[in-house]
């Protein structure tokens, strides 16, 4: 009898720092090829959509295929989408610089992922609720949330709506359909399902959108959310943003290579779509399809947005320690801003000159907001929330032991 010495596989990305980026294994499907089924199609008939990729914009910037069919989408709306992405990118750039100047303690960029949250938000209605991660600020930008208020949160100054209690970028806005962000990964995914169940129990017409990254799909909360969403057919859109990286670990460690992340939906009977996350129009079309499904009481949809985290994980991270430093430039799905720009130019609705002008306008707008935010304060200077406020909102009413502690502290 022979014995085999057992061993484990330790998954690792194909290339590491020093080597040339290699996306030759990454299949880039042809734009316009995926069918656009009816929103009441059964999950079984949609299987291919979880393994292929819904793409609208082709290499020349033309919007092609059935998912491009959005007759109500005007050039103004397309230009607005471009502006939202430019705004998010400019905001990121200014906050990154501010962090390097030690004005906030921390920041997280969206570089390369701007289309996902900016486009998705346009498929929602007032009253719908996102349960975002820390990398969907485009939901706020595209809903018109004031950039100055976002900066006040990042600085934790006296203009911060959450009173300096949360890390930078952990925004909260009920009015703008943006649920309070938590540092604990995955927790919001099942909460989104519960919120959607609440809406359905109340006989309301509002829907929820859940957000999670590729890495966090490994958390138990992801599984719980899928079971509950499927069991109760909750009106929720379950978004996975697959940006290939979870800090230093590549998406294969969370088993991205085992089928696709979208394919997880089929184990639960949840229709699943895989979309080019750097294609603004594709994300918008898919978001409209899934939100219509939810509003029609047809239940949840799982969407895998395939994109690339072009920047470091956070300002505390140096990606050149674990991946080729020029890998982002080789990403096969390109840059979401440049692709929508090319599309608008191809339609005769934009020009290189107007783009440069728009970038300048957006940057001026962000800089002006930054001056206003910094006039209130930054982490280390200016006005910050009173320490007495630390004791507020732990409970609806302050219990005696907290009142004693506040008095003891002298606040």
């Amino acid at each position: 009898m022979t014995h085999t010495a057992l061993s484990l596989r330790f998954a690792a990305p194909d290339v590491r720092p020093g080597a040339a980026p290699d996306f030759s294994q990454f299949q880039v499907p042809v734009a316009g090829e995926m069918p656009r089924p009816a929103i009441d199609a059964t999950p079984e008939t949609l299987r291919d959509l979880a393994f292929g990729m819904i793409r609208v914009l082709d290499d020349t910037g033309q919007a092609v295929g059935p998912w491009a069919d959005m007759p109500d989408l005007t050039d103004d709306m397309r230009r607005e989408g471009l502006r939202h992405m430019l705004k998010l990118r400019a905001y990121d750039a200014r906050m990154l610089l501010a962090q390097r100047q030690q004005k906030p303690s921390f920041y997280m960029q969206h570089l390369g992922e701007e289309a996902v949250s900016c486009a998705f938000q346009r498929a929602l209605r007032p009253g719908d609720m996102n349960f975002p991660t820390y990398r969907q600020a485009g939901l706020l930008i595209a809903s018109g949330y004031p950039v100055k208020t976002m900066m006040c949160q990042v600085y934790g100054n006296d203009g911060d709506p959450v009173r300096g209690r949360q890390l930078p970028v952990f925004y909260s806005s009920k009015e703008h359909g943006f649920f309070s962000i938590s540092g604990n990964l995955g927790t919001q995914y099942i909460q989104a399902v519960g919120w959607a169940m609440g809406s359905a129990i109340a006989g309301d017409d509002k829907i929820a959108a859940a957000w999670i990254g590729d890495g966090s799909t490994a958390e138990s909360d992801f599984h719980a959310a899928m079971v509950f969403a499927s069991t109760y057919r909750a009106p929720v859109v379950l978004n996975i943003v697959n940006n290939q990286w979870a800090i230093s670990t590549f998406q294969g460690l969370a088993r991205g290579g085992a089928g696709s992340f979208a394919a997880r939906g089929h184990g639960f009977g949840i229709p699943a779509l895989r979309v080019d996350g750097n294609d603004y129009l594709a994300v918008l079309a898919v978001a409209r399809w899934a939100t219509e499904r939810a509003r029609a009481n047809l239940g949840p949809t799982l969407i895998e947005h395939v994109t690339y985290r072009a920047a470091g994980h956070s300002t505390s991270d140096d990606p050149s320690a674990y991946r080729p430093s020029d890998e982002d430039a080789c990403w096969p799905l390109g840059d979401p801003v440049l692709r929508l720009k090319q599309h608008l130019i191809a339609r005769g609705a934009w020009s290189a000159e107007r783009h440069i002008q728009a970038e300048a306008e957006v940057m001026a707008e962000i800089a002006a907001a930054q001056r206003k935010a910094e006039a209130i304060g930054t982490l280390h200077s200016g006005r910050r929330p009173s320490p007495a406020e630390m004791f507020d909102d732990v409970y609806a009413e302050m219990p005696p032991h907290l009142r004693r502690q506040r008095q003891q502290a002298g606040f």
Binding site: K174, N184, A224, V227, D393, Y395
Partner: protein
């Protein structure tokens, strides 16, 4: 006034809450059609409908996580974890999310919910059907923790917990679901109908959270207890002829410190009881508070009578459970200090 078991009182409270508030939803494992493994939700689905009372998949984190989302939508979920021993998969959702949501969003999002959990030992439940994890909740800022000791309180406190705007952990000592238990496991089981606190008013009423009650007045020492241990304490001091003041805390957080300190300053001696393990248990908090608030009044060190620092055993249940003999012995030790 009708007599009820604690199970019936809890069911009645849920029935009242479902009837008077359309935002209340009740769910958990086996809670819906079947009516709960302890019958606490029996008949509620039939009476109030599937959207108000329903079964869930076996996922504690799913139950609590969905309830947090539902509460932030504007409903008032009252969810059940089948045994407190099985709350650990939901602990992240309870601690990181439910407890912190109001604080971290500066009041923009809130979490008015109740998590019911059968707790405690004395039923040969062994390691995973006997735990008393209250200290894991009282250590968490943002949670309220309630432990009733009788049907009358269970209904009033549960209705108060449901009405409360904060997340409440509602621990139900399963050993006293059907009748008071004083720790004398060799004697016949008694029923709630022969106990005055088995009389439960009909319709809605609430008992304030954060308010203890003196179950027995005394002058020689103060015994602090909650849940099943209230009955153990009463039996121990009665049988031992000890002139003890027995306080039923009812709510562990917020704690009724005034009732405690008033009593200890009067009696000058204190014994703290709980089924949970000793080290870093809630008794440590009680002993520290009594020491700090009543230092100049104390005639003896504060004693703690608790479960041993071991996992809850099966066969040796009665060697583990802090019964009346151990309680009486501790009282005598405290009284003997000159």
């Amino acid at each position: 006034m009708p007599c009820m078991t604690m199970i019936e009182a809890i069911r009645d409270a849920l029935d009242v809450a479902l009837a008077q508030d359309p935002e209340v939803t009740v769910f958990g494992q086996d809670v819906g059609f079947f009516g709960g493994v302890f019958r606490c939700t029996a008949g509620l689905q039939k009476k109030h409908g599937e959207t108000r009372c329903f079964d869930t998949p076996i996922s504690e984190l799913g139950i609590v996580g969905a309830a947090i989302g539902m509460a932030s939508y504007g409903l008032k979920p009252v969810v059940e974890i089948q045994f407190a021993d099985y709350m650990y998969p939901a602990y992240d959702q309870i601690v990181s999310e439910a407890a912190r949501l109001r604080f971290r969003s500066a009041g923009e999002f809130t979490c008015p919910m109740v998590i019911r959990m059968p707790t405690g030992g004395g039923i040969f439940g062994a390691q995973t059907h006997s735990q008393s994890p209250e200290a894991l909740f009282t250590h968490v800022a943002g949670l309220k923790t309630v432990v009733p000791s009788n049907p009358h309180d269970a209904k009033g406190l549960l209705l108060a917990a449901i009405a409360d705007p904060d997340p409440v952990i509602f621990l139900e000592p399963k050993r006293i679901y059907n009748g008071p238990f004083d720790g004398h496991h060799n004697r016949p089981v008694t029923a709630w109908r022969s106990h005055p606190l088995g009389e439960v008013p009909e319709g809605p009423y609430t008992l304030p959270l954060g308010q203890a009650v003196i179950r027995r007045e005394g002058a020689a020492l103060t015994v602090l207890a909650y849940g099943t241990m209230v009955h153990v304490a009463l039996a121990a001091v009665q049988e031992g002829g000890i002139d003890a003041e027995v306080i039923d805390l009812r709510t562990l957080l917020p704690l009724d410190l005034e009732t405690i300190t008033t009593s200890v300053r009067k009696t000058r001696r204190c014994v703290v009881l709980h089924e949970a393990t000793l080290t870093s248990g809630f008794g440590a908090e009680l002993a520290a508070l009594v020491q700090a608030e009543c230092f100049w009044h104390l005639e003896a060190p504060v004693e703690r009578v608790t479960g041993w620092d071991t996992p809850y055993p099966h066969t040796n249940e009665w060697d583990y459970f802090p019964g009346p003999a151990r309680v009486a012995a501790a009282c005598h030790r405290v009284l003997e200090v000159k």
